[in-house]
Amino acid sequence: MNGLYWLPQAEDWNARLLALPGRRPETAWNEGVALANTRLNFVQTNSLDGMLRRALGRAAPGGTRGRPVRLAVLGSCTVAHLLPAIRVAGLRRGIPIEIYEADFGQYWQELANPDAALHAFAPSAILLALDAHHLTAGLDAGMTGEEADAVLDEVRGRIAEAWRLAAAAFHCPVIQQTPLCVHPAMMGNSEHRLPGSKAAFIGRLNAALRPMADRAGVDILALDERAARDGIGAWHDPGLWHRAKQEVSPVAAPMYGDLLVRIIAARQGLCAKCLVLDLDNTLWGGVVGDDGVGGLVLGQGSALGEAFAAFQGFARDLSRRGVILAVCSKNDEANAIEPFEKHPDMVLRRDEIAVFAANWSDKPSNLRAIASELNIGPESLVFVDDNPFERNLVRQQMPMVAVPEVGDDPSCFAQTLADGGYFESVAVTDDDLARTAQYQGNRKREALKASAVDLASYLQSLEMRLVWRRFDRIGLPRIVQLINKTNQFNLTTRRYTEESVAEVMHDSSAFGLQLRLIDRLGDNGVIAIVIGKLQVSGDLLIDSWLMSCRVLGRQVEPATLNVVVSQAQMLGAGRLLGDYLPTPKNGMVRHHYERLGFTVVSEGASGAVRSALDIAGFAPAVTFIGAEEG
């Protein structure tokens, strides 16, 4: 897997690409940044680079996020096919990169000769890209151990001298690419016992390069480790080596460019600082407000539970090395905190979370509040949420926040975050190791204030449809499940068996509605249930109204009311009556009916509230949701 799979698919790719050359340089650059942050293959990467160069010409865009870089690429084999991907990876992070490519195999002469074009270019960063064939040229399979060691020393000496020359001439960062293990083995498992083995030699050299680089202040572009994860076949094609002397296949170019620019960005301090985590179905399986702490899937006992625990472990490890952790969850705060305090398999502790935003306001507002409380920019946030609705909303409202496509399998969350390279760092400092404690010390206890962003355009773009139907046999299991597990958005918390649901189905003076929400991102399934019963008084009593919290903030409530009113009219009702029966879990819907235009008619001692709505005077609410029977 060497594609940029953690980035979202581009929308309107062709149209946006073609429009680039007609735009003003600043606008073209910003649009290019947006396009570079989508899932590009090597063809798209090259197209984007080509079109942006047409738009910008020689002009360097002003006001970019990162500082411009003049990168000299000194290679021993073909690297020309990798350069567009390097520029596009810079674009992805707002860094304009101008590249000087030394003549094929001339890196030594260019470094040593002050009259060479390299010196006129005056690089601000140097990449030394030496391939495995070049580096093993002095090796012979029949060599003794001593002879092979001598070759290794010679190669190490040559590389160290190149670093020294580069540093002395340009006083700029040097990046050393590790060669790929492209040679077939000659002994197999015991390859390390053959002194003259090229495969084993590359392994020894790559191991030796790390401490050498540390001593010389050189950064390592660890292609060997990436290829070990992806498989050498994803990075190197022997046919292309023979045809074009490409050690790195063009197919791997987008990932190559990204790996390289991560180092450059980290040197500019552009890496992310804070991991913001959703809770339900991101840190644990299930919805804590509905399932309760005891009903969560977490830890030993199931593969899913272990996967969530492992992801928590990864997040905790990140925090131990200096990444700040925050929580952003649609939940009552008390419910959200409970697993941290009571669930025995929680890996993350409450005091490891620097900012804990659990409330019902939209996530972009909460992310802004988290960034401001931590006194960091929103571009320093990485937001992990299993829910595609939330991911897309954040991307649209806050394009500077990194939102990886983590999918919905917790087994893959950690690797996706790691592959995305969001937290790339070039060194571990004492500050990093102390940071978590520091944020714990400063943490404010007050809950984050709710604030609204303009959601209208986003909701409109979702093309939501509320597809409703009366209760039926096919829907029965889901209806019963939803009725019996929903605790938070549940006005009366009345539980029903299959039999009692069937009674509603056959009662001509009652109706049961199952409502499904479908949008551009997919089918959310049945997300709400309403049961209405006509009273002797001629009023329609809403016996039950419950909804999955996944679809909060999307205007499903008023759209549902429109359907309920039309159903009540068919039964000849004059008024709707809605009850709120308080439980420890359903505080969020205390004012549900008032928000929908109902008037309170009575309040009981236990906190129960009855509200009424006059059907004759009811004007259907206008929403971005189209309702249809289906």
């Binding site: 698919q9 073609l18 293959n41 090259n46 197209s47 080509g50 045809r243 074009a244 197919v251």
Partner: protein
């Protein structure tokens, strides 16, 4: 896949690689006819075609192709061998991604 059916997708690939929405592929078209069709571009064309059609070209096969017509014939033969069920997307990117990236571009010049 029939040879005629290969051309629309092939055209999309060429147009995106050369950033030329007006490029028209004919069987006799060669590298000499298209500005920028050098040996590196040749490698990219072959890789993009491999990804799009889910095929893999051997070194000898690549050496034997001299124009677009021979490339299209090779793709047709190979996809025929694979069977239509397996055609498309063997090497990495998702079908929708390739579809999105390589669908034909309108004329730009």
């Amino acid at each position: 896949m029939r040879e005629d059916d290969v051309y629309p997708k092939l055209t999309g690939i060429f147009r995106e690689l050369f950033l030329r929405g007006d490029l028209v592929l004919t069987p006799g078209l060669t590298a000499a006819d298209v500005e920028g069709w050098d040996s590196f571009r040749q490698v990219e064309i072959l890789l993009a075609v491999e990804q799009e059609f889910g095929v893999k070209f051997h070194t000898r096969e690549i050496d034997s192709m001299h124009n677009v017509g021979e490339l299209a014939r090779m793709v047709a033969t190979k996809t025929e061998r694979l069977g239509s069920a397996q055609a498309g997307n063997a090497l990495g990117s998702s079908p929708s991604q390739v579809e999105a990236s390589i669908s034909s571009l309108p004329a730009m010049r």
